[in-house]
Symmetry: none
Subunit: 137 residues, 4 copies
């Protein structure tokens, strides 16, 4: 009897739990955010835009999440690289938004997707992303 | 004293109520769907992709919703036009997905956004979209 | 003494005269339209979107005008070809919106741009485009 | 009796008044400009390209205006951020043209659109944009 190789994936139920946590943290802090959650192919599983958030934050949140799923790391990692070397080099990387607020999502050590947050300062975006992923624990 | 010209808009709370209704209808029927809700500028307010839906349905749902918000009518209207006249003409219209499953959302007779559903047959997609909008009543 | 080869071009003043005529005709008929005027390279010289016109008409008007300047003929010419042969062939042509409402603009027999109208039925769009170009006489 | 949530919007009449003011200022200074005005969804309401302006300025003006409507701030805000920190980070933001000449348009404190100017130096572009918005007072 053959045994297929399998990988875990992010369910909608999990994505909604993460998005709920992100929205609760944002509301508690008085921030309005776009909350984007992608699967391991970089495709949307869940998105919410809270009232009054600037339209530009939709693509920024999507871009941060895509950065994290395409490169398996926080989007802040590229922001830090830029600060170290002036940044030009990194700005030519396809599919990178080099701003804090994107985090990869792992299950059992395997990448299953990413979250991207935009709407406040990038440090605040990062706080909400981190708080949201605690819902996965 | 000046008087601004105003128009209504779609809140996240309303969008989530609509998405919940779409998801409930889909679950009741045993269908898995992508549920996309856009504002009156064609920008995302809410998206959910139920487990196992084909990746292609994300852009189909977005395209149907964009069709409805850009042209203030059900995406099925273009499907019907195509059947009536052979269809070539309609296939050259920019931003049109001429398949049932997109519906405009009105408040007090003013367009505030649209819903797009994809994942099952287009007739089933249309049923879910219609059921979802009953949550606005 | 050398003599450069020259070609006439569409001035903003002329484009505004044409747009004014299109807007006057639309208002007289009770139609709201997008009025797009392109130069001979297919680039915008003038655009107006009357209040309440569906957002989708912007790209449709631009597409009809681009069709007329790229192919030096009314966009209706492609609509007629489609009716003659079923249309599939024409729908694969790049940069063609095969719907009435786009007309090329000539000065001294030389193509200088095009107008595209969208917002009502395609026949009404075509009437407004034709009325607008009379302002060039 | 239901009460819709409402927001103000930009009329074509207002957009033309703003564009007229931008064109008058440009003419007075001897500059030729592209003048682009978008609604709150980032879609065109009015565009004018004065005679002789480089073709590239069309997309620059559109990009500056989109930056301002998508991020609810002058496009110069991003130019300043770039100068402050080396800029790489900002260059990865989607939908941002980080050059002076784009300004958001507000009515009663609510974003209703934006203006983008391009054709001269960015400082001159910014002067024309600012002069144009005085027509809203």
């Amino acid at each position: 009897m053959s045994q297929a190789q399998t990988k875990p994936y992010l369910t909608l139920e999990e994505a909604i739990k993460i998005a709920d946590a992100a929205q609760a943290k944002s509301t508690a802090e008085g921030w309005n955010m776009v909350i984007a959650i992608l699967d391991d192919g970089g495709h949307l599983v869940s998105l919410r835009k809270m009232d009054g958030v600037q339209t530009g934050s939709i693509d920024v949140a999507l871009g941060k999440a895509k950065t994290s799923v395409f490169f398996k790391r926080p989007s802040k990692a590229f922001e830090d690289m830029m600060k170290a070397d002036g940044g030009g080099r990194i700005s030519t990387l396809p599919n990178v938004v080099a701003i804090e607020g994107g985090l990869p999502i792992f299950k059992d050590g395997v990448l299953v997707g990413a979250i991207g947050i935009s709407g406040a300062t990038s440090a605040q975006d990062g706080l909400v992303a981190a708080a949201a992923l605690e819902a996965m624990d």
